[in-house]
C-alpha cells in the first residue's frame, strides 16, 4: 500500500491489499463481507500504527514520521491536559454547573494527532466532541464551556482561530467544509508546501447521513483540498458501527475516487503522520482524502447517556489496554525520553488548568436578554427590533413592580 497508488491517474479504486470488493462489479462474497465486518470491529490488517499498545515504536513503509524527543513530550502533554479538562467538564456537569458534557475520553490521540498536523493557514470544521482539536487550534479550553453551560453557542471567532463553530446536527459540517475547501482551490491557494487545506471531523454514525455522502461527492468532483477525518469510536450513541456500514468505513473512499486510510486512532504518532500526509496531499492539490481514525469512546456518549444499556464491560476493559496516553507514557519511560520530573510537571500543569477551567465555569455570566435579538441578522429587521423593545418593556414592568413592592 503506497500513497503513490492514489495519484489521480494511478488510482485503481482498489484501496487495500486485502482486495476490497468496493470497485469490482461482482457482489462481495460472504467471506469478504465477514472479513469486512471483522475489520470493522478489530481494526484489521490495514491499520496504520507507529506505536503499539505496549508503547513500542514500529515503522510503517508509507507513513513513517520523524519526531524529536521534545515533540513526543509535547504530544504527551497535549493529551494529558486535554483529558484533564475533559474529565473536569464531566465533573462540572455532575455538579450541575453544566447542562451537558460531551466527553472525548479515549479519543485524545486521534484528535491531537490530527490537530497538530494542521497548519495555521488551514481550516478545521469540528463536530461537537473535538475539544482536543480546539486545543490544537489555540483555543483556550474554557472557550467551549459556554456551549455546555448554555450561555452561548460558541464564543470563539471561527476565522481568527481557523476552527469553525461546533456543529451538533450530525454531518452538516461536512458539506460546509467541502464548500470552504472548494473556495481554497478557487482562490488558487493549493499547489505547494504552503498551500491551504481543510479538515472536517465527524463520527462513524455520521457516515450514514446524506450530507456526508454529498460532501464526498462534491469534494471529489471539485478536487477540494479536504481531509475527511472520521473518528470511528465504534458507537453512535447506542448503535455500533455495524449498524452504519457493512464495509470498513475507510474503504468507502474508493467509491468516491479518493484514498481512504485507516489509522490507529489511539496512536498519536500514527494519527499525526497520516494526517500530515493527507493534509499535504490536499495542500498540493491531490485531495480529497478520507482518514478513518479507529478508536474508542471510553465514556458515555454524553453525560445524558447510559452506556451500560448497550455496551459490554469487557469491551471497555479491552480498549483500556489501548489507552492512547498510557502507551505514549510507557514509550517515553522505556526510551528514557522523559523522567519523573517531566511527568510531575505535566501533572502540576494539569491541576492548574483544571482549577482555572472550573473557576471560569463558575464565573461565567449569563448573557443579557438583548442577546436573544442581537446578531440574528446582519441588518436588524424592524419586526425584531419591535419584539425586543416590547420584551424589554415587559421586563421593566417587573423592575417597577418589585420597586413598588419594596416601597409599600
Amino acid at each position: 500500500m503506497s500513497p503513490e497508488r492514489w495519484t489521480r491517474e494511478g488510482h485503481s479504486g482498489e484501496a487495500t491489499d486485502t482486495g476490497p470488493p468496493a470497485a469490482t462489479a461482482a457482489k462481495p462474497t460472504r467471506e469478504q463481507v465477514i472479513a469486512g465486518l471483522r475489520a470493522t470491529s478489530e481494526g484489521g490488517a490495514d491499520l496504520v500504527q507507529l506505536l503499539t499498545p505496549e508503547g513500542e515504536r514500529v515503522s510503517h513503509p508509507d507513513f513513517d514520521i520523524d519526531v524529536t524527543d521534545a515533540q513526543l513530550r509535547d504530544l504527551y502533554r497535549d493529551m494529558v491536559l486535554v483529558r484533564r479538562t475533559d474529565r473536569e467538564g464531566n465533573a462540572l456537569q455532575r455538579q450541575g454547573q453544566l447542562g451537558i458534557w460531551v466527553p472525548l475520553l479515549g479519543q485524545e490521540a486521534a484528535q491531537i494527532g490530527a490537530g497538530r498536523a494542521l497548519k495555521p493557514q488551514d481550516m478545521a470544521f469540528p463536530s461537537y466532541r473535538e475539544h482536543g482539536v480546539a486545543w490544537c487550534r489555540g483555543l483556550d479550553p474554557t472557550e467551549v464551556l459556554g456551549i455546555f453551560r448554555g450561555t452561548d453557542h460558541g464564543s470563539w471567532d471561527p476565522m481568527a482561530t481557523g476552527f469553525h463553530l461546533y456543529t451538533i446536527v450530525i454531518g452538516n459540517q461536512c458539506l460546509n467544509a467541502a464548500g470552504y475547501a472548494m473556495g481554497q482551490r478557487f482562490d488558487g491557494r493549493v499547489g505547494d508546501d504552503d498551500g491551504e487545506a481543510t479538515m472536517v471531523f465527524f463520527g462513524d454514525g455520521a457516515t450514514s447521513q446524506g450530507d456526508v455522502h454529498e460532501a464526498m461527492v462534491w469534494a471529489a468532483v471539485y478536487d477540494a483540498p479536504l481531509v475527511f477525518f472520521c473518528q470511528n469510536n465504534q458507537w453512535a450513541i447506542s448503535e455500533p458501527t455495524e449498524r452504519q456500514s457493512r464495509v470498513p468505513l475507510y474503504q468507502r473512499a474508493s467509491g468516491y475516487g479518493f484514498p481512504g486510510i485507516r489509522v490507529d486512532g489511539n496512536d498519536v504518532l500514527a494519527s499525526l503522520a497520516v494526517s500530515k500526509w493527507a493534509l499535504d496531499e490536499c495542500r498540493h492539490g491531490n485531495g480529497p482524502v478520507l482518514v478513518e481514525a479507529f478508536t474508542y469512546r471510553m465514556d458515555a456518549h454524553t453525560t445524558s447517556d447510559d452506556a451500560t444499556r448497550y455496551r459490554l464491560a469487557d469491551e471497555l476493559e479491552a480498549w483500556k489496554l489501548k489507552d492512547p496516553i498510557e502507551r505514549l507514557r510507557v514509550h517515553l519511560v522505556r526510551e528514557q525520553i522523559a523522567g519523573q520530573d517531566f511527568f510531575d510537571s505535566v501533572e502540576a500543569e494539569s491541576d492548574e488548568l483544571a482549577a482555572r477551567f472550573r473557576d471560569y465555569c463558575f464565573n461565567l455570566t449569563d448573557p443579557p436578554p438583548q442577546r436573544m435579538f442581537s446578531q440574528v441578522y446582519a441588518e436588524q429587521t424592524p419586526q425584531l427590533a419591535e419584539q425586543e423593545r416590547e420584551y424589554l418593556r415587559y421586563l421593566d414592568s417587573f423592575a417597577d413592580e418589585s420597586l413598588a413592592g419594596g416601597v409599600h
Partner: protein
C-alpha cells in the same frame, strides 16, 4: 375520525398512573400487538429504548424487525418508512429531537405529504413521525425547537400534539391507525408528568380540540407543552377574579377551531399561546380565522404569547424566550384592558 374499535390484548388492566413517556410506550405496545404491520424505527430506539426511553422494552418483546435501530440518517428513516408503507407496513418513526427533523424534511414534504395525492389515492401513507419538541430542558442547540407550523403549512400532512399522558396513549394509537401521514409532536419537557389512565375509557377523537377548563372572562387556546402553563395561568388569574377558559387544540392540521369559536363567542377574548416563533405560524392562522369567524363577538384583538422570531437562544436565555405564566397573564391583562 371515529375512535378505533380496539381489541386491547395488553391494555393494562384497571386505571393506573402513568407519565406521558409511559403513555406513549403503552400506546405503541398496544398498537404493535394489535397489528403486526406496525413498526417502530429510528435512532437508538432498540436497546437503548430511545433517548427518552419512550420505546423502552419494545425491541426485547417484538424483535429487531419490528423495532429497528436505523442507521443515523433522518432522510433515510422517513424515506424508507415511505417505502415500507407502500409495502403495507405502518411505520412509526422516531426523530430524536425537533432540530434533527430537517435532514428528513425533504422526504416528508416531497414524498410523504404528496404520495396519496400524486397516486390519486392508490398509495396510502400510514406513517407516523414522532417528534419530541419544544424547550425548557436546558439543552444545547437544536434540542428545543418548535417546528410544527412548518408541517401544518404543507398540504397532505396531518399534525397533532398531545399534552398529557391519557392523550399520549390514545392519540398515538389513533395516529397509527390513520391512513394519512401524521406528524406527532410530543412535549418533551412534560414527558415525566403523570395522569390517571383508564384504558377502558372511551378516547376523544384524534383530530379534535378540547376545552380543558371552562371559564367566562377570556379564552386561552394552546397545545403541547404550553397547555400546562395555561392551566396554571388560569388558576393564577382566578385569584384576581378572572375566569379563563382553556382549550387544548390537540390537532394543528387540520385545525379544529369549532370549540375555540364557540368559546370566544362567549368570552369575547382570545389569547393564543405557543412556544414557536410567531411569524407565519399556526398562531397567526388561528388569529386570522378567529377574527374572521368571531369578529362581532370580540371585545379585544386576538393576542398571542409566543417565542420570538429568532433562532432558539442558548439555554440561559430560554426562560425569556419561552412563554411562562407571567407572560401569559400579561397578555391576559392586556386583552382584558381593552
Amino acid at each position: 375520525m371515529a375512535a378505533p374499535a380496539l381489541e386491547r390484548p395488553t391494555a393494562p388492566a384497571g386505571t393506573q398512573t402513568v407519565t406521558i413517556a409511559k403513555g406513549l410506550n403503552l400506546g405503541l405496545r398496544a398498537a404493535m400487538e394489535r397489528d403486526p404491520k406496525v413498526l417502530v424505527m429510528g435512532e437508538d430506539v432498540g436497546k437503548l429504548g430511545g433517548v427518552f426511553r419512550v420505546t423502552d422494552g419494545l425491541q426485547k418483546d417484538f424483535g429487531e424487525h419490528r423495532v429497528l435501530d436505523t442507521p443515523l440518517a433522518e432522510s433515510g428513516i422517513i424515506g424508507t418508512a415511505i417505502g415500507l408503507a407502500i409495502r403495507g407496513y405502518r411505520p412509526v418513526c422516531e426523530i430524536q429531537f425537533d432540530g434533527f427533523i430537517f435532514p428528513g424534511f425533504d422526504q416528508i414534504v416531497s414524498q410523504l405529504a404528496k404520495l396519496h395525492f400524486r397516486s390519486q389515492g392508490r398509495l396510502k401513507m400510514p406513517v407516523v413521525v414522532r417528534v419530541p419538541f419544544g424547550g425548557g430542558i436546558g439543552a444545547v442547540e437544536h434540542h428545543s425547537e418548535s417546528p410544527e407550523s412548518l408541517f401544518a403549512h404543507i398540504g397532505g400532512l396531518k399534525v397533532v400534539s398531545c399534552s398529557n399522558a391519557v392523550d399520549a396513549y390514545w392519540m398515538l394509537q389513533q395516529a397509527i391507525e390513520c391512513d394519512d401521514p401524521v406528524l406527532f409532536f410530543e412535549p418533551k419537557r412534560r414527558y415525566y408528568e403523570k395522569a390517571e389512565l383508564d384504558p377502558a375509557a372511551e378516547p376523544a377523537p384524534l383530530f379534535s380540540s378540547r376545552v380543558l377548563r371552562q371559564g367566562s372572562s377570556l379564552t386561552l387556546a394552546t397545545y403541547g407543552p404550553m397547555v400546562r402553563t395555561c392551566l396554571e395561568a388560569a388558576n393564577a388569574a382566578e385569584e384576581d377574579g378572572h375566569d379563563l377558559e382553556v382549550v387544548d387544540l390537540r390537532t394543528l392540521s387540520p385545525l379544529d377551531l369549532g370549540p375555540v369559536y364557540e368559546s370566544v363567542r362567549r368570552t369575547g377574548r382570545l389569547v393564543v399561546v405557543s412556544e414557536a416563533p410567531p411569524e407565519a405560524s399556526i398562531t397567526s392562522e388561528i388569529a386570522t380565522r378567529v377574527q374572521q369567524e368571531c369578529f362581532y363577538s370580540l371585545e379585544a384583538p386576538v393576542l398571542r404569547t409566543t417565542g420570538f422570531d429568532t433562532p432558539y437562544p442558548p439555554s440561559k436565555l430560554e426562560e425569556g424566550f419561552l412563554p411562562d405564566l407571567d407572560r401569559v397573564l400579561d397578555a391576559v391583562d392586556r386583552s382584558l384592558a381593552f
